[in-house]
């Protein structure tokens, strides 16, 4: 109905039928509708005329308010089409009655009034206006409750002649309903034991509406009263869904404006608690999941989200550009009887199917592999991944193969894709889909994703569509509502973290074109999304980059008590109720270094004590069998552990805590080989290391190096100095004793270790001891190394001194080593 009717232009009345052309509804109707002025005035009876006059006076206000909100473009067109007032009003009236008869809708009647009212008011000349308005009033009464209720009685009898029978019937029904509504509300209050006063609300609400369509459903109703806690249980027996639904809406309304609408004495928590239970009942959710959702969404969105989960998302498909084009495919499918549309600006290959007369998964085009049925949100991670040609791509959880095939089509069958999944049955669908779609560059494997960098690594890009709790796809699987709880979510999160770390390790950061990883889940829980991403950021050398998707909600940087890295803003969340696609989360990482950052806590602690122990065994290892070398690492750690318990005993002997440590070192380090010691020493002191390497010549070296070692170790073992001093006294004794010990095995070696730590004390006496040592060492060869070491005050590097001391203590019959 776009053509404007020009009433001045007359129809041709020629000899033939064809001379008269149809000009559209306006023209046609104009023939039936009463023309301006004359007909109307003729039609009106005397009583009607009087009423019209009355109405004109009285209804100037009422129709305005009542008509405005209910403006209907459809009927508005009609008045517009019918040009000037004279034609308009009668036309409207007639049209209106026709409309009313035909559609029985509220809107047409009042609608045209809204625009035209002002104009009509000015047209006093037309008697009909009042009538029209009156009829509008009555019609409005019948349908809406807009328009003056008060006028209804007047209009009823006035307009009864004008109204068609169906309109009269409709009006009657409306009146009945109004009565019934009031009754129902009364009944409710009687029935319900709870004191909820929702019941009066329907009545007053209608009252609101009658005051003019502008104020619909507004405050007038009595405030919602939350039932006492004790009475909430009664719902469980026979939940009346309608009532619960109403209550949900009321509580949401109250909470939205809590300050003014709250009931005295009731806390917000009570309202929320009630709301949660009602939502759980109405939408059949488990309490845990609903609680999580309440944390995630504001209340208005929450209800929308829950509603959206009841309804399935539209079916979408993705064109397989390896075999066809979207245009051609759309054409072919339309020919088969499918009603479809392009998906949106953001996708060049997507189509959304509204309805179809043929099964969409069984068309010849489907069998030929021209398209794939895929959710719209599943196309997004591949778009974010942006695979380039001739790359190596890993898809860690690929079943049923939609994303893998999309990757392949973007790469145009070049490069290599490794499609992996842990579930063997679902892999069959992957194989089937890939073959159907004509993908040739893919290898399909059946590994657990966590094994990945070990099996094969060094990929340019990795896509990880992690297994999740499925809270974003509730519309596909309603069982998720009830069977997910805390430990399911945490278990999923744990698995996702492991998979993500493996995926990061499989990416090659130095790849020329890549180094990217996309992590996505079909879940909306923060534990599975932002938390996992944050964990990965801490654990590996990756950073988040923009996904390239310009729509979607940003991920959270903070949620309840957790705080995430600020770059999490570049991740994207999608919801069913805002984007009309499955709930989804996408994060894109760039790996900037292939090295794996080690945790710093344990290593530094082990360093120095270990080196302590290491140095001491160093000379001893020369005398000892080499197989003990491997124990060196252990001994390092053991040294630390044993230091404390052993300290006491040593202290007794030497009054020296350090010496005890030395003892423990000795005992544990005894089996340390050269190599290990040297490696240990690397941490501590270079000179010591040199010493370690040259074990046979340790004695000489030790002598020479002892001063150096002392100096270098001074800083490290200043604490031990005091303790060492105590030991220094023993060194001479040790020296002598070491001779005898030279032939002895590990035990001896162990002893001096303890002493080495006390070696710092020995510093002072070193020169003397050194001279002694040299003499001694020359005699004894390698075992003397430790002795000299013990002489040096430099802690761990001075294993010989420790050794010596130990022997000393032995000689002194002191229980040095445990």
């Amino acid at each position: 109905m776009g053509r404007k009717l020009d009433p001045t232009k007359k129809e041709k009345r020629g000899p033939g039928r064809k001379a008269r052309k149809q000009k559209g509804a306006e023209t046609e109707l104009a023939r039936f509708l009463p023309t301006a002025g004359d007909e109307n005035s003729k039609r009106l009876s005397s009583r009607a005329r009087k009423r019209a006059a009355k109405r004109r006076l009285g209804s100037a206000e009422a129709p305005e308010t009542s008509r405005c909100p209910s403006a209907n473009p459809l009927t508005r067109k009609l008045p517009k089409g019918v040009s000037a007032g004279a034609v308009r009003t009668p036309g409207k009236k007639g049209a209106q009655s026709l409309f009313n008869a035909a559609q029985g809708k509220k809107r047409p009647a009042p609608a045209h009034g809204s625009d035209e009212e002002e104009e009509e008011c000015e047209e006093d000349g037309v008697v009909n206006q009042g009538e029209l308005w009156g009829s509008e009033d009555s019609d409005a009464d019948m349908k809406d409750d807009y328009g003056a209720d008060s006028n209804s009685e007047d209009d009823d009898d006035r307009e009864s002649e004008e109204l068609l029978p169906i309109e009269r019937a409709a009006r009657k029904q409306k009146a009945q309903e109004a009565v019934a509504g009031a009754l129902w509300s009364e009944e409710e209050t009687d029935e319900e034991e709870e004191e909820e006063e929702m019941s009066p609300e329907p009545g007053p609400e209608k009252g609101d509406e009658t005051d003019g369509g502008l104020q619909i459903n507004v405050e007038v109703e009595e405030p919602f009263v939350l039932s006492p806690a004790g009475e909430m249980e009664q719902d469980a027996q026979a939940p009346d869904l309608q009532r619960i639904h109403k209550r949900i809406q009321d509580i949401v309304g109250v909470l939205r404006d809590f300050g003014t609408q709250r009931e005295e004495g009731r806390s917000r928590a009570e309202y929320l608690h009630r709301l949660q239970r009602d939502l759980a009942t109405y939408y059949s959710y488990g309490d845990f999941l609903l609680g999580k959702l309440m944390d995630l969404f504001p209340l208005s969105e929450l209800v929308e989200f829950l509603e959206a989960n009841e309804v399935p998302r539209p079916i979408t498909l993705r064109t397989n550009t390896l075999k066809t084009r979207r245009r051609d495919l759309a054409q072919a499918l339309i020919n088969r009887g499918v009603n479809l549309d392009p998906l949106g600006k953001w996708s060049k290959t997507g189509l959304v199917v509204y309805d179809s007369s043929v099964p969409i998964g069984a068309t010849p085009e489907y069998l030929a592999g021209h398209y794939m049925l895929q959710g719209a949100s599943s196309m997004l991670p591949v778009m974010a991944l942006a695979p380039q040609e001739h790359e190596r791509i890993l898809d860690m959880c690929c079943a049923p193969g939609g994303k893998t095939s999309y990757i392949a089509q973007l790469m145009k069958n070049t490069g290599v894709i490794l499609a992996n999944d842990a579930n063997a049955e679902r892999l069959k669908s992957v194989v089937g889909n890939l073959h159907r779609l004509g993908v040739t560059n893919t290898i399909v494997s059946h590994y657990d994703g966590r094994q990945f960098p070990k099996v094969v690594g060094g990929f340019d890009r990795v896509l990880l569509d992690a297994p999740c709790s499925g809270t974003g796809v509730i519309s596909k699987d309603p069982a998720v509502k009830t069977n997910k709880d805390e430990k399911d979510i945490l278990r999923c999160a744990h698995l996702q973290k492991e998979l993500l770390l493996s995926a990061i390790d499989s990416v090659n950061a130095t790849s020329k074109t890549g180094g990217y990883l996309v992590y996505c889940t079909c879940s909306i829980m923060v534990e599975e999304n932002e938390w996992v991403v944050d964990y990965a950021l801490k654990k590996r050398n990756v950073r988040l980059v923009p996904t390239g998707l310009d729509f979607g909600q940003e991920g959270f940087t903070r949620f309840r008590e957790r705080r995430f890295h600020p770059t999490l803003r570049s991740t994207r969340r999608f919801y069913p109720h805002t984007h009309n696609m499955d709930g989804f989360f996408i994060a894109k990482f760039k790996k900037f270094s292939n090295s794996v950052p080690q945790s710093q806590t344990g290593n530094s602690a082990t360093c120095t004590p270990a080196s302590l122990g290491q140095v001491t065994p160093q000379p001893e290892s020369s005398s000892q069998p080499a197989k003990k070398a491997k124990v060196a690492v252990k001994t390092k750690q053991q040294l630390q552990k044993r230091q404390h318990p052993e300290k006491a005993s040593f202290e007794k002997q030497n009054g020296n805590g350090i010496s005890k440590e030395a003892r423990s070192d000795l005992s544990t380090v005894s089996s340390v080989t050269k190599a290990q010691v040297s490696s240990m020493l690397q941490d501590s002191l270079p000179p010591k290391k040199a010493k370690v390497i040259r074990e046979p010549k340790v004695t000489g070296k030790l002598k020479r190096q002892s001063p150096k070692l002392q100096s270098s170790k001074k800083v490290a073992f200043q604490k031990q100095n005091a303790a060492v001093k105590g030991m220094v006294t023993e060194t001479p004794a040790v020296l002598s004793f070491s001779k005898t010990q030279a032939t002895q095995k590990p035990e001896n070696c162990v002893q001096p270790f303890g002493k080495t730590q006390g070696a710092e004390k020995v510093k002072q006496q070193l020169p003397e001891q050194l001279s002694k040592k040299t003499a001694f060492q020359k005699q004894n060869g390698t075992p003397k190394g430790p002795k000299t070491l013990t002489m040096s005050p430099l802690g761990s590097s001075w294993s010989p001194p420790a050794k010596r001391r130990k022997s000393q203590s032995r000689g002194s019959s002191q229980p040095l080593l445990s």
Binding site: V416, L418, H435, G438, I443, H446, Y447
Partner: protein, 176 residues
């Protein structure tokens, strides 16, 4: 995963040659790299060498599929060509048959095609010749396997085996 033995290669090539004749060499030496056949779990896969390199890292029991599956060897070591090979055979097919749109749907659901359903056909196609069936839009027919086409003097009846089993023996049915 292993390369095919001589015997297996011979059997397979014989089968393929029924449809594409001596164009077999084209399958192996392609302009975009060398392709080869590998056997894994009794199935023959057609892969390019690049993919082969990566696939070598995957242990045999975890490998499910690579490249394109051409067909499989049965227990009695006969080679059965699969529908997945259609895309590779179609360009090199020696004898082609086009069928009309009306007959296409019935053909897809497994029925025979009568002579009246034929659109075009390559000349000199002899009886029991292996052909590739196309739709009028030149699409190698969707999951319609390569059939053995039979031509009789009068009525022709193309017998279409179920998809993926191109080895049905054909009998011509003479129709008036």
């Amino acid at each position: 995963m292993r390369p095919l033995t001589e015997e297996e290669t011979r059997v397979m090539f014989e089968k393929i040659a029924k449809y594409i004749g001596e164009n077999l060499q084209l399958l192996v030496d392609r302009p975009d790299g060398t392709y080869c056949f590998r056997l894994h779990n009794d199935r023959v896969y057609y892969v390019s060498e690049k993919i082969l390199k990566l696939a070598a890292n995957i242990s045999g029991d975890k490998l499910v599929s690579l490249g394109t599956c051409f067909g499989k060897f049965t227990k009695t070591h006969k080679f059965r060509l699969h529908i997945t090979a259609l895309d590779y055979l179609a360009p090199y097919a020696k004898y082609k048959v086009w069928i009309k749109p009306g007959a296409e749907q019935s053909f897809l659901y497994g029925n025979h095609v009568l002579k009246s359903g034929l659109g075009r056909i390559t000349e000199n196609t002899s009886q029991y010749q292996g052909v590739v069936v196309y739709s009028m839009a030149d699409i190698p027919l969707l999951y319609s396997a390569i059939i053995i086409y039979c031509i009789g003097s009068e009525a022709k009846d193309i017998q279409l085996p179920v998809a993926g089993s191109p080895d049905h023996s054909m009998d011509t049915q003479q129709r008036s």
